[in-house]
């Protein structure tokens, strides 16, 4: 009965994964893998190099620099998205006029393809011709170098990612909120619990199942959020906003011949990091009595 599942998983996940791990142990690149293109035949001349790629990556300061910023980026984005999503979800989880409209409007960023949103943001951020700086100039404020200054660029990419991520948090948390029975709040109110006490003792525990899942998912997505950074700043200015995945891309796809093996080593390291995070996170949740 499970044979089809095993087969599909094997084909779409297993093979690429094994192949990636294998490549990371070689010195394969675009110039030495086998291929036939019309009259040209390139033989495979790459060889097994063991852990050399990993050694090279881990002893290079670049990896650790990028890891530092990737962690800041992930924690910043997930933290802000969760807080904003939670606040908005609570505000929308009551009967108010035009609730459907608000809900729809807040989901809109999710409905637009990410790359279109990012390009729009890039135009808004344009230091010389963008609307944001035109608005600020109207208020007598100097132009802000949104994407041209390392610190501003970091804040700018986080802002865009939060903007993109809030709808998901909102929808998920709103779903969680509607599943909390209203009687609990009524009972708490009878016992004289204030709004904050109700939030802390009913809403938060009631949301735990949902929030722990979305936080983990969101962490993994943000950690690997390639399009926002790549399309907004290409990792720049300099390499200020480069996270691990965009740096791996630059290392291995911008230079020629494309370095498949080093790229694979970066990929495996990223996978290992995320797996560790996921396992630790689950352990922590289990200690709190949460079964995931």
């Amino acid at each position: 009965m499970v044979a089809p599942v095993v087969l599909v998983i094997g084909v779409i996940i297993g093979y690429p994964l094994v192949r990636g791990v294998f490549l990371s142990l070689t010195d394969a690149n675009e110039a030495n893998v086998e291929r036939n293109i019309g009259v040209n035949h390139l033989p495979a001349t790459y060889k097994f190099t063991g852990l050399d790629n990993y050694k090279a990556v881990l002893t290079d300061g670049v990896f650790w620099d990028r890891l530092g910023w990737t962690v800041v980026w992930t924690v910043g984005c997930v933290g802000l998205t969760f807080l904003i999503g939670l606040t908005l979800a609570n505000m929308l989880n009551r009967t108010l006029r035009g609730r459907t409209f608000y809900r729809l409007a807040l989901i809109l960023p999710w409905a637009i393809p990410a790359f279109i949103s990012v390009f729009t943001w890039r135009m808004l951020y344009n230091e010389k011709n963008g609307i944001l700086n035109k608005l600020l100039a109207g208020g007598g404020i100097d132009a802000v170098p949104w994407l041209n200054d390392p610190t501003w660029a970091k804040l700018s990419v986080i802002a865009v990612n939060v903007w993109l991520g809030v709808p998901f948090m909102l929808v998920a948390l709103l779903g969680g909120l509607t599943s909390i029975p209203g009687e609990l709040y009524e009972a708490a109110e009878m016992d004289g619990a204030g709004p904050w006490q109700r939030f802390r003792n009913i809403t938060m525990p009631g949301l735990r199942a949902v929030s722990s899942t979305v936080i983990l998912l969101s962490t993994i997505w943000t950690f690997n959020m390639f399009p926002v950074i790549f399309l907004l700043t290409r990792g720049g200015p300099g390499d200020a906003t480069e996270i691990l995945v965009t740096y791996a891309y630059r290392l291995s796809f911008v230079d020629s011949p494309r370095n498949f093996s080093e790229s694979a080593a970066w990929g495996v390291l990223i996978l290992v990091l995320l797996s560790v995070v996921a396992v630790v996170y689950r352990r922590a949740l289990r200690k709190q009595g949460e079964v995931w």
Binding site: K128, N148, P150, L217, P237
Partner: protein, 425 residues
Amino acid sequence: MRRGIRGVTVTALVAGLAMTASACGSGGDDGNGNAGGELAGTVTFWDTSNDAEKATYRKLAEGFQKEHPKVHVQYVNVPFGDANAKFKNAAGGNSGAPDVMRTEVAWTADFANLGYLAPLDGTPALDKPDDYLPQAVGSTKFKGKTYAAPQVIDTLGLFYNKKLLKDAGVEVPKTFTELATAAKKIKAKTGATALYLRGDDPYWFLPYLYGEGGDMVNARDKVIEIDDGAGVKAFKTIKDLVDSKAAVTDATDGQENQLKALKDGTVAMAIDGPWDIEGARAGKAFKDKENLGVAPVPGGSTAQGSPQGGWNLSVYAGSKNLQAAYAFVKYMSSASVQQQTTEKLSLLPTRKSVYDVPAVKKNEMVEFFKPAVDGAVQRPWIAEGNSLFEPIKVQMNKVLTGSATPEQAAKATGDAYRKLLKDYK
């Protein structure tokens, strides 16, 4: 709720896979070649010309069908920035690559090294090879074979707004030092900034580097040169120009911002190439076409020079319709097509004979750019030539935003080159 979320993920995954599958499915057109005599089938042509140029190129490419009615030209405009990666993805995967592509001069050796290009020696594609300018031929050769036909040659020049310079009472600067001095007058008299400095594109760094007598690498002796004194000075020049407010810059969108600033008259000068002549003239500052002046790029402390660039036409080795592709390259690099791109777009031909045509001879942009091209610095035509740019880009960003000193930037670029070019000193 949990199941709900997982459901969403699975749906997204399935949708994503379906999209990937359909994207992969669209293989190349299997237009069949010719048995003997008339050409037939489809020639897919990837053109990399910009917005101001693409309509002309499309028309010219489709003109091939008049000569060969059975051939269908599939014209595709691929933005310059994506073209290199897009071609490699398609060519390496053996699906979706065009039959003919307009390749940047630095890409030709790179693609040839990876086996993506068909050698053109002895094919109809190389028509009257002696008619090509010798410097244009340089980039088409790799390991003794020819992998492309030169189509357009170019270099950088200093575009200037004649009126703004006149109002400020300054001459066209011959060096970056002169430019910095003139900047104060220009700002005081006209309110405009003197120069737009492309801080986002490493190609624009080369005049500063050549101006100090430096180079990226010396390919003949296999020596990395960027991190010697000249490289440091070049980084310092761009930093000083921006710090002293003689120049404005950006780390992103430099192409659009530079052209807009020049067109609107908010900057008096910009370093740019012939491909932007038409675009610049569309702006309000150049309603009077005569107002756009072009001069050699300013020099540095020891020399003056700008990089030689341009475009070649190359044939994908896996093309299913090689004969038609060769004929198409022959047509697109022919004297008559080159003459038309010059007349319509002021682009510089690569054929000597075209320069003798009166309409080309008296084109004022050709009048300026031809001597500039003759004096332009040839880049190292090695397989890694294009990869030399990325480290410069990162470091010039860093210098301009103050997160690296010119010394650190030059050293970091040199270190990156050493990783890339293992057998270089």
